[in-house]
């Protein structure tokens, strides 16, 4: 029960803050390190979107499964994937979460219920339906969560999955993380309906739109639909309206955005700032609580990058493991 004016206990508020702040620090550091040229491959940052991932993931258990997107670091961290393993993975080292075989776009840890970031947009939707189907046979009350962006919301995989989930009454939640852009194309250009609630209703399931920069709004709305799914009430769609601080990928010049857009959203719509205001104004948490966590996160991120940079590189033998070779 809550011991303050907010709907979460102090312990839970601290956990939520740690989740969001870890993601923010992780992403800010990746942004810096990527610019040095030492991080290989494609990287897409979740900074600015933390409240959505955290608000939902606060309700999940280890046995719940999520399928993520190309912008998956935040989902991984919030679902409990080891941060040091993730950084090593981004550097392509053998101590990485996937032993350097997945990279940023494919980090997965099934033991933690994380079915993978995904390089194919919308492809995680059927997979989350599969997790939800398995839950029905296992009867363990677990749910599947499919994260996808406003861009992927136009992919056939997603639209087919909405219908499949509805006709099979699956305990699955589709979370549309609407950050306004599919790469550079605006959501308003590419999606004909004004609200994803209309889409959900069209497929026979309830839908809710929330301010994805407001942790408490996401927490509340997702709590309701996740418990409904756990209790056999079937699938739902949750639209989180949110913003991304960085480009589609690292290196994106973002010429499609308004000239002062990023500056404005960082100033006025930063979900982490908003959370800190909400918890400190209500005296639910005080500054020293937050400072202590900041300090721990700073140490963790520094260690993670130091260790990853020194971690052993995979060898040629690793190339041929984890798959049958017959040729």
């Amino acid at each position: 029960m809550s011991d303050n004016a907010l709907p979460l206990s102090k312990d839970k508020l601290l956990r939520a803050y740690r989740m969001m702040k870890t993601i923010r620090e992780f992403e800010e550091r990746v942004h810096v390190e990527f610019a040095t040229g030492d991080l290989p491959g494609f990287v897409h940052l979740y900074a600015g979107e933390e409240a959505a991932g955290a608000g939902i993931m606060m309700h999940l258990r280890q046995e719940d499964y999520i399928s993520s997107t190309h912008r998956g670091h935040g989902h991984c961290i919030a679902k409990g994937v080891d941060v040091k393993g993730m950084v090593a993975e981004l550097y392509g080292r053998s101590s990485g979460t996937c032993h350097g075989k997945g990279g940023s776009m494919h980090i997965a840890d099934l033991d933690m219920g994380m079915m993978g970031a995904n390089g194919i947009l919308g492809a995680g939707a059927p997979l989350a339906c599969g997790a939800a189907l398995a839950s029905k046979y296992k009867k363990d009350g677990s749910v599947g969560i499919s994260f996808l962006g406003d861009g992927a919301s136009n992919a056939g995989n997603f639209l087919e999955s909405l219908n499949l989930a509805a006709v099979w009454d699956l305990p699955v939640i589709f979370v549309v993380e609407n950050n306004g852009y599919a790469q550079a194309t605006s959501r308003d250009y590419a999606v004909a309906v004004d609200s994803y609630v209309d889409r959900a209703l069209g497929f026979g399931m309830p839908g809710v739109t929330v301010d994805g920069t407001d942790f408490f709004a996401v927490y509340e709305a997702s709590g309701e639909i996740i418990s409904r799914a756990r209790d056999g009430g079937g699938p739902s769609l949750l639209e989180c309206n949110m913003i991304r601080f960085y480009g589609h990928f690292e290196g994106d010049a973002q010429t499609y955005r308004g000239s002062d857009e990023v500056e404005k959203i960082r100033k006025n719509r930063d979900c982490l700032k908003k959370f800190v205001q909400q918890v400190t104004q209500t005296d639910a948490l005080n500054k020293s609580d937050l400072d202590g966590i900041d300090q721990e996160i700073s140490v963790l991120i520094n260690e993670a990058f130091d260790e990853a940079q020194k971690a052993p590189r995979p060898t040629e033998t690793d190339l041929l493991s984890d798959v049958y070779i017959n040729y």
Partner: protein, 335 residues
Amino acid sequence: MARNITIREAIREAFDQEMERDSTVILMGEDIVGGAGSPGEDDAWGGVMGIHKGLFGKYGKRMLDTPLSESAYIGAAIGAAACGMRPVAELMFIDFLGVCFDQIFNQAAKFRYMFGGKAETPVVIRTMYGAGISAASQHSQTLTPIFTHIPGIKVVCPSTPYDAKGLMIQSIRDNDPVIFCEHKNIYDFSGDVPTESYTIPFAEANILREGSDVTIVSYGLMVHRAVEAANQLAKDGIECEVIDLRTLSPIDMETVIESVENTGKLVVVDEANPRCSIASDISATVAQQAFNDLKAPIEMVTPPHTPVPFSPDLESFYLPSSEKIVKSVQKTLIN
């Protein structure tokens, strides 16, 4: 104890025995029960080929008719497999691969490797392939080489009821994704099948007929054309060794190479189009690994590089036949 049953019955028996043995085995596909939500019989069809007929009464909710959304349900089967189930999903015709291929080759095929060996995806995708019933270009293809090109998925193609049962049970128990290809003209073929459960390991080709003159390699329905050709040639004193590959990924090249070392001549019979096919792949491998043993150019018996035609006349020109195989064998024996 063995008795004579068809391939259709052999596959059904494999499902029955595995579903009885392992409660994580579930079946799904379009009309695999047939009649979900309709006013008539619950299991009106049992699949378009009647493979599942009779299982619904015993397994109920473990058999799922799906909406016509191949990408969603094949993907859901893959997702469920990653979460502890052993689903067998039916892709009614191999030609429908185009609408769900991403889930197979970018998702299922990649998980184990891409996630650093920490994922298992024990899903079987059963599918019907092949020409011969005037089903025309979009329902008659042999797309096996498209699957064998992809690392991480296994490709199985039985030719007899005995193999169909043993390979299906092996496929269900395998922890990698398996594409199980059934020729649409092979379901009524019959043969001896043991009543008990058994498995056939992957990458173990079957030598159906021994011979020291020419090696004929094939898989699926074409194995029967190869045997017909070999029987025909035997009347003229030409002894062919006929090898049924049984699995295309992984593939038993050792048996093929050993045979070629003995015969020095190779004919590969493949119902797939010839470019980048199983036939061209085997030919290349034999040329690389047994070049000095070859006493004649390798012959490939395949359709031409055209879509499958509709007209029964054109289709018979298109398909490999025992006559075409006989001619190719004879060609390897000139000089």
